[in-house]
């Protein structure tokens, strides 16, 4: 079903979406969206919501199993504490993506902002994945505790920009970050190091990127044609000795 969001206040729009989901809709198309906050927040049915226009902040927060496709750019705070489901953004996205994300996938085609994957975590089969096809701002993977971040650096509107910003992996203590074509080691935070992939990593990464490529009609072989490095925390407790030394 279609919903015309032109001029609709965010509360009205989200009310209509929730009513459609409760009524059993499996696909919802939102037309003329511009800046409405909180779209698809907390939706816990396997519905696909397609968005034309730029959705507002906090898209897909607490989402649990739905799929959101954004045909253009998106703003800040996508997938905050998301539990399951997927967000696909065909343009760029803003800051603080996947904050505290616990499961599901964020696939961004182009650039992403600062603090992507901050506080992302995983538990048993719940393993969140964020893949950015473009370049990233500072604090990529900040305080990351689990899950997978992937940075491709391939699709950007700003070719002059470096692939990633400073303080990469600040406070990271779990999970893994894969970066296509290597990282600028001088921009890594002191808590992390860059390492070559092992065979199992290669298998995991290829599986994740196959799904990503399918969403955007990309060639997996081309994406995999450059070697990746993985960035891992050097310690599981980077701040363990911050205030007083801890027993070994």
């Amino acid at each position: 079903m279609k919903i015309d969001a032109q001029g609709l206040y965010y509360k009205e729009l989200n009310q209509k979406i929730r009513e459609a989901v409760a009524g059993g809709a499996t696909t919802i198309e939102l037309e003329h969206v511009n800046g409405q906050y909180f779209i698809a927040d907390g939706i816990n049915k396997p519905v696909t919501i397609t968005i034309r226009g730029v959705p507002g902040n906090d898209l897909a927060a607490f989402m649990n199993g739905a799929t959101v496709v954004v045909n253009e750019n998106a703003q800040d705070n996508i997938g905050n504490t998301m539990n399951a489901g997927k967000v696909v953004v065909h343009g760029h996205a803003g800051d603080v993506l996947g904050y505290g994300m616990r499961g599901g996938r964020l696939h961004i085609r182009k650039d992403v902002g600062y603090r992507v994957g901050i506080h992302m975590k995983s538990y048993q089969e719940n393993k969140p994945v964020v893949i950015a096809g473009g370049k990233a701002g500072d604090f990529f993977g900040e305080y990351m505790a689990g899950g997978v971040l992937v940075l491709l650096g391939m699709f950007t509107d700003d070719p002059a920009k470096p692939k990633h910003g400073y303080l990469f992996g600040t406070g990271m203590h779990g999970g893994v970050i894969y970066v296509r074509g290597g990282v600028d080691v001088s921009r890594l935070a002191k808590e992390v190091g860059a390492y070559p992939l092992e065979a199992a990593d290669q298998v995991e990464l290829e599986g994740l990127l196959a799904d990503y490529c399918k969403d955007f009609g990309l060639n997996l072989q081309e994406v995999m044609s450059e070697p990746f490095v993985k960035v891992l925390p050097k310690s599981k407790r980077p701040y363990g000795n911050m205030y007083c030394p801890m027993p070994k």
């Binding site: 511009n34 800046g35 906050y37 703003q75 803003g94 604090f139 400073y166």
Partner: protein
């Protein structure tokens, strides 16, 4: 276990919003455009402050300082007008046209004066013997009125520009000041969510001095250091709000000390020492000098600001980008806003849209 009766409450989701644009060719654009952009971000404010900066709105009085005055009482107006008459030639004075609307209760009085300083003894003393410029004299008068006349506040004091601000949502302030009746080539707007300081008419953004105007999202935790630093140069902070220091610091750095705009931005949001150490020798020395000389001008805390003058519009984030800022270009227009949607609302398909790095100013200057 049964659920308690759910208590729904309206969560406060505001966090300040700003937007602005410039026509680099100097085309004048009606107020309705900036109103549309800031109104999209209605929920970033909470009704305790809205305001606008507009440039190119007084072409008939372009050579006069346009003083926008806010009066809390009649005595303030009387004293201020005596002060102005003693120190200025008043070419034109009038009430700033307003429209009474339900949302705005008990507004102060607003008047504007198009003035040039009289070459009186005080002026000649300042210019001939103290090495001051005419603009320095204007700054002194602004500080004097704000500081010494209780209930009078200079809302703006630049040429061919004006600030319009108050307590209310920005769309309400725009309606109150009839902003759709103005045309300007640079506009900025602010939607306020006061956090640390009172929501009062003088505390709304923009903050101004001469033709500088600042709108700001964030908080300046270095306010005390910045304020004391500025006091050494005669700037008096009277607006009870942190943002005020940004206006005065830029006036000091750019107008008084002659720093180029980008270097002034570096002084406000310099790179970390660790990064400076990695730079090539010449840049390393430059940034080291800027940090050493202007250590007390550094703005600590999260911020996104837009600052404008008759020369152009500049956007700047704190160096770790703790507040949002998105920029776009289309033909001779440059847009800067807290949210991309606020730009799309008035420019649906810009040729370029991007998020600037923290500490990296976006500078859009007038052509010619």
């Amino acid at each position: 276990m049964t659920h308690h009766n759910q208590l729904f409450y309206e969560k406060e989701i505001s966090n300040c919003g700003l937007t602005g644009f410039i026509s680099k060719k100097g085309r004048r654009i009606g107020g309705e455009t900036i109103i549309k952009s800031i109104t999209l971000m209605h929920d970033r404010g909470n009704g305790l402050g809205g305001g606008f900066g507009a440039y190119g709105i007084y072409p008939d009085y372009a050579d006069y300082y346009a003083f926008h005055l806010m009066y809390e009482n009649g005595m303030a107006q009387q004293l201020t007008e005596e002060y102005l008459e003693a120190n200025f030639r008043v070419e034109q004075q009038e009430e700033i046209p307003t429209r009474r609307i339900r949302a705005i209760a008990n507004p102060p009085a607003f008047k504007r004066y198009f003035i040039t300083p009289l070459k009186n003894d005080e002026y000649l003393e300042a210019v001939d013997y103290q090495g001051l410029t005419e603009e320095d004299v204007i700054v002194r008068h602004v500080m004097a009125i704000n500081h010494e006349i209780e209930g009078a506040f200079v809302v703006s004091s630049g040429k061919n520009m004006g600030a319009f601000k108050g307590v209310g949502f920005p769309e309400e302030i725009a309606e109150f000041f009839r902003l759709e009746e103005y045309e300007g080539h640079i506009w900025t707007a602010h939607n306020r969510f006061p956090t640390n300081t009172p929501g009062w008419w003088g505390g709304a953004h923009p903050f101004t001095l001469l033709d500088w105007s600042i709108v700001h999202n964030g908080e300046i935790s270095s306010y005390g250091i910045n304020k004391r630093y500025l006091e050494m140069y005669g700037y008096l902070c009277t607006m009870l709000t942190d943002t005020e220091v940004v206006a005065y610091t830029l006036d000091l750095l750019i107008r008084k000390h002659g720093l180029p705009a980008d270097l002034a931005c570096t002084a406000l949001a310099p790179p970390f020492w660790k990064l400076i150490d990695q730079l090539p020798e010449e840049e390393r020395r430059l940034y080291t000098a800027v940090r050493q000389v202007y250590g007390s001008g550094l703005l600590n805390g999260p911020f996104a600001i837009l600052f404008a003058s008759n020369k152009g519009l500049i956007g700047l984030n704190d160096r770790v980008k703790l507040r949002p800022l998105v920029c776009a270009e289309h033909e001779d227009m440059v847009y800067m806003a807290s949210e991309e949607a606020a730009i799309r609302e008035i420019c649906p398909n810009p040729s370029r849209i991007w998020a600037p790095r923290g500490g990296e100013p976006v500078i859009a200057l007038m052509e010619n």
